[in-house]
Amino acid sequence: MSLGSVPLKYRIQIDRQQCMQCMRCVDNCSYGVFREEDDGNILIDSRKCTACHRCISMCPRDAINLSERPVDYRSHPLWTPEAREDVINQSRSGRIVLAGMGNAKDYPIIYDRLVLDACQVTNPSIDPLREPMELRTYLGQKPSKLDIRKQENGDIELNTKLSPNLELQTPIMIGHMSYGAISLNAQLSLAKAAAKTGTYMGTGEGGLHKDIYPYQDNMIVQVASGRFGVDINYLERGAAIEIKIGQGAKPGIGGHLPGEKVCTDVSCTRMIPAGSDAISPAPHHDIYSIEDLAQLVRGLKEATEWKKPVFVKIAAVHNVAAVAAGIARSSADAVVIDGFRGGTGASPKVFRDNVGIPIEAAIASVDQKLNDQGIRNKVSVIASGGIRNSADIAKSIALGADAVYIGTAALISMGCRVCGNCYRGLCPWGIATQREDLVSRLDPEVESEHVANLINSWTLELSELMGAAGINSIESLRGNRSRLRGYMLDEGTLDVLQVKPVGA
């Protein structure tokens, strides 16, 4: 017997009185929800809707309405509609369920149970309007001590050899989203925004397209297991190099760009055959231990004559602190920790929603471990995965991060509605697609401005938050957990975070 179909997820309705039949919805919905009939009427197939909101935002008469899950099941605390529908989907297909964007489960958000400090009578707050606030951030190894000598003429000479560091005007960077996963226009918008705001963005594992070359000084080039797009020119162009070991949305598994997204341009940029699946499995096949990782870190440094910082990105998982301590000893300059809320174009749903740990706990435990072992200066710590606002950033830094990567937030500032259908290649906002008509919807000039505005406004808020806490330098906020209190957090979590409860 057939399993039949599951109910619609969303219902689209048009207020026919408002509608002027301009057909913009028909043109804008890349999923084919709307169809123009011969009589000029608009037919709706709500089953195809992904809640991307493109039609709604483009409708000049606000005539379109979207409601979520219009059909009720018999309510059940364990067998939620989603659990039942996944079973039906898999019973029918026998396949792995693919999902986009970040972890969609209702785990408590630790950020929202941490509160920041502000000065009152005993020590004064700082007014960022009047006082200079130092948000400049340097990523890379710092010496454990400086050897300074005074020359005879009175000049000071620095004898310590400094490691190359990245200089950021704000501790906010844009995370790695590859060409292939996102469109060139999307990548270009992000790259322009990074240049405008004096920060950096990651190439992802998709290589560096020649249109991005003008922004190469703001790019961190990524080396993943499949070595897509990696040659010596690519390594030399990047401001820094990042080895991707893991990613928060799918810890322990690799990347996989379906062949239909590998057009000629993507093929040349990734240096892979056109039309074939781009497979980068989880393990790097020359890395089987921390020693092997050190070998790759040094291999990359040797190739670029020790002029560039090398980052290592891992997913936040159990024992992440011990892994990070190993990375700190591998000659890497920064460790990127990607929490389980990290977004992606495509991940098996079971991984996205169940594997990994929250970034807040991971950062705190990594910072603590590196401090305990006396090697915190050997490596910078970058937090990523589900950072939604400047408060999350301030809290991440207070928990021990040097800087953060934002991903989904940057996409939202370009139009993304977190519909989670990126893997289908039909993104109506021109972001997660290679279809030319959709890509051309995104104007890099306009969108780079939006992304830059977001980074600038969060940077402003960060300085206000710091000023309120009587802090005028980001360095003084870093790892300063006394500026946090936990509200409604259990003792175990507070212990890992090394944060006191409210009132203490």
Binding site: V97, G226, I232, E236, G259, S276, Q295, G299, E302, E305
Partner: protein, 246 residues
């Protein structure tokens, strides 16, 4: 210009590479490096037309990210010579370790004797002129050509022992693995399949065999027949049927 001589005795790999780079920038076309004993990353990221003769045993990742030069090794090699190499040539008068030619996407690697596990893993070709070639004189271990997406791997089994490894071409989605002699189905990895090796194939690989034989003074005639097994991808989209939408 006279060949430039470098003595690598007790030299760390960074100063050794610095000397090589300096010689190349000064126009050297031939560099002879003596007393190499385990130095890693020789010619790492090096560009140019130079030939580097290495006397001794280089450590891991010889010619990593290299783009252009030729490295001729008189001795064995550690793991991953030619790792992510873009262009150039590596000729090894001996054996090499695991992951030889990892992710190589241009250029050629010739190993006179044996290689370890995962040879040719992730080798890829794209566009025109980016086609990596790996020729192994004797034998390779298991997982040869895993995730291969282009290029050619040839195993000549010159001592007469046919290839005994397993997992050949797991996840392969492009390129060809050509083994002298027979291969059993059970030695194949997921996504790999055996197809007929034809005269046309022989025509295509003959230049590589001849080049290999010329380096090691071997008579190529013995290898210019069709007694090979050819392994290719069963699909360029091996995992297309693994997923369903949310």
């Amino acid at each position: 210009m006279e060949p430039v001589h470098i003595d690598a005795r007790a030299l760390h790999y960074t100063p050794l590479n610095q000397q090589i780079r300096k010689a190349v920038s000064e126009g050297a076309t031939e560099i002879i490096v003596d007393n190499v004993l385990g130095q890693r990353f020789i010619a790492d990221g090096l560009k140019g037309e130079v030939t580097i003769r290495i006397n001794g045993v280089p450590g891991g990742d010889l010619g990593m990210f290299m783009s252009g030069p030729t490295c001729i090794v008189k001795g064995n090699c550690d793991h991953a010579p030619g790792n992510t190499m873009d262009n150039g040539k590596i000729v090894i008068h001996g054996s090499a370790g695991d992951a030889v030619a990892h992710s190589m996407r241009g250029g050629k690697v010739f190993v006179r004797d044996d290689i370890g596990y995962r040879g040719g893993i992730h080798m890829k070709e794209y566009g025109t002129g980016h086609k990596p070639i790996l020729v192994i004189g004797d034998n390779a271990c298991s997982f040869l050509g895993e995730y291969m997406a282009g290029g050619v791997i040839i195993v000549l089994s010159k001592s007469g022992n046919t290839f005994g490894g397993r997992g050949v071409g797991s996840g392969i989605h492009g390129g060809e693995i050509i083994l002298r002699g027979e291969l059993k189905e059970r030695q194949l990895g997921v996504g790999a399949k055996i197809t007929e090796f034809t005269e046309k194939d022989l025509e295509k690989i003959s230049p590589y065999i001849e080049e290999f034989c010329a380096y090691f003074e071997i008579d190529p005639e013995k290898y210019l027949d069709t007694r090979y097994t050819k392994i290719v991808a069963s699909s360029s989209r091996p995992f297309a049927g693994k997923y369903v939408w949310e």
